[in-house]
């Protein structure tokens, strides 16, 4: 279901995010952590874009930039003008992203008053009731608090909250990782229902390849703050091109190659100005220039590109 013709809705060009490491009160350290090195991507209207990567790869930072929760250090992030709010962010752990003292009704309607075209508390509450039903919760539970719900129900509530302002897209950061296996499927199915009913675009982040390849139209692979490969999800699942993607797709490779199993050089946070390919330290095919030159994008197939010196 790739959306070839769909217009681009959000554009990122050379987006970069650097954090200053907090080194304590009396420290003179000026350590910088480059969380996102230089990412360019297009997110199309109504598209589900999946992002995979291991912890520390910068995928959550990228999502926070796209959700306007952070400002990029450099680079541009532009959005097409629209009547509806651009995006809402759904967090991994619903129990820590909701005020435990507020009732469900307050949680849902709190943000509404800051929206354009706010029509008063009664309308907001009516919409809250509607959304509760839509996400499979009982509207009579509007006076309950987050603690009264199970993890799966809280994630339903988080989705309802995100939809209160009728956004064009949702950014879902590991939204099923904290849930029980038997509940994960329910939330994913709900997400797909909501996507179809509201025409939502999704930016879906997970470390779980099965989930990402199943849900996404297109997907990207991140490592060490760099986007290394981008492809339609089905194409990627059949044949990833980048050496890192191949390792991710088939961890058995780690059993054979010496370099792949080299856990000593496992992903480290880039603190200095990073150069070359972020995967060079673990790559079994590494060459001298991988460590010094940033790999260029190579076109592998339609809509399929990878950043690697060794691909032709």
């Amino acid at each position: 279901m790739s959306s070839h013709q769909a217009e681009v809705f959000m554009t990122l060009r050379d987006v970069r995010k650097v954090y200053r490491a907090e080194a304590g009160l009396f420290s003179h350290s000026q350590r910088e952590i480059v969380a996102v090195r230089s990412v360019s991507l297009d997110w199309r209207r109504g598209e589900t874009y999946g992002l995979v990567g291991e912890s520390g790869s910068g995928k959550s930072t990228l999502a926070r930039l796209m959700g306007f929760l952070e400002q990029p250090t450099s680079g541009t992030l532009s959005v097409q003008p629209s009547e509806r709010p651009v995006t809402r962010y759904v967090f991994q752990d619903p129990s820590s992203s909701m005020d435990p003292r507020r009732t469900t009704a307050q949680i849902l309607t709190w943000g509404a008053r800051y929206q354009n075209g706010y029509q008063g508390p009664r309308m907001a509450l009516a919409r809250a009731r509607l959304l509760m039903e839509e996400v499979g919760l009982n509207p009579l539970d509007l006076d309950k608090r987050p603690g009264d719900f199970s993890g799966g129900q809280r994630q339903r509530l988080a989705l309802a909250r995100a939809l209160m302002s009728e956004p064009l897209t949702l950014i879902c950061d590991e939204i099923v990782s904290a849930l029980d296996v038997s509940v994960q499927g329910q939330i994913l199915r709900l997400l797909l229902d909501l996507k179809q009913r509201h025409g939502l675009g999704l930016f879906f982040i997970s470390h779980d390849l099965e989930v990402v390849t199943y849900l996404s139209d297109r997907m990207g692979v991140m490592y060490g703050g760099q986007l290394l490969e981008e492809a339609p999800a089905e194409v990627w699942a059949r044949g990833p091109a980048h050496p890192y993607s191949r390792l991710l797709k088939d961890p058995h490779l780690a059993d054979q190659g010496d370099n792949y199993s080299n856990f000593e050089t496992a992903q480290t946070v880039a603190t200095a100005e990073p150069r070359g390919c972020s995967f060079a330290g673990r790559c079994p095919l590494v060459q001298a220039k991988c460590r010094t030159e940033t790999p260029p994008w190579k076109q592998i197939g339609p809509e399929h590109r990878a950043a690697c010196h060794l691909l032709s």
Binding site: E54, D180, G185, Y214, E234, L247, F263
Partner: protein, 344 residues
Amino acid sequence: MNSLLDVPNKLEVPNKLEVRNLSVTLGSRNNPIQAVRGVSWSVSAGECLGIIGESGSGKSISALAALDLLPPGSKREGEVLLDGEPFDEYSPAERRLKRAKAGMIFQEPSRSFDPITNFETTFRETLRVHNPRLTAVEARQKAIALWQEVHLGQPETRLKSYPHQLSGGMLQRVMIALALANDPEVLICDEPTTALDVTVQRQILRLLADLKVSRSLALVFISHDLAVVSQLADRLLVMYGGLVLESGPVHEVLSSPASPYTRALWSARIPGGSHWTKDPLQVIPGMPPDPRSPLKGCPFAPRCPRADAACASLPSLVGLGRQVRCHHPEVNNTQPPAGRGAHE
């Protein structure tokens, strides 16, 4: 492959760790939680028992109870046999020594180490619990050997480092090395790879599989992830609501699950690589049971497609080697389950 009730077999391969009819009650007297409700399992040398279940199924608690590591205030019933000897007959001091026969590793290695103690000291302390006369030099040599056994490089320099200096995967290796320090015969792994990245997870599984053979360890592997467990386990125990719903050799249980819960879990795997518009998602309806208010009948009944009036009473666990607790088990089923994706 020895099972609980296979008496002749049991004599040939003695169980390293066995629990019989184990029940655990947690919490206060006013608000007791029956976390485990009569669970029996055993594991012998060179074998891996996989215990699978969701949160609140009692899978971790049953393992903690086997090693006498329950939080204070909890109550355990049933028998634990370590190397064929009943654990309860020992005094607390003796139990502490006997427990050296079993090691345990936990989900989050970063939380299991003292952040201000370097690894050399940690290893020395652990080694001295059972060998108080050990000199610092001997302890260091032993620690280096252990580090090499779990394939951690540069032990001479790294032993001086602190937990925050190692990555999650490396810490989990140190954790395994530490668990092996006093030459245990049983190793209990409670979700050892859940907090790790996919590529690292694979390496840890590989290491555990190697150790199982090289040390002929009796391995108990606890996880919520069927795909992970199936890579390592020889036998599988499926827990739900504090009870065993199914058990047996791993390939048999997965290729023809008898319990509707096992089948549902296996079919509900996400069909990765296929797009959602082509392949609808199999979903288990309902919620996992609340251990605070257990049902009288089968705990899976409210979510089960095969449930009927009979399920209001608790079915008993029947079978030899291959056990199932269900009033309506799936029988004569040689077809692979409806789930997609190859089982590795």
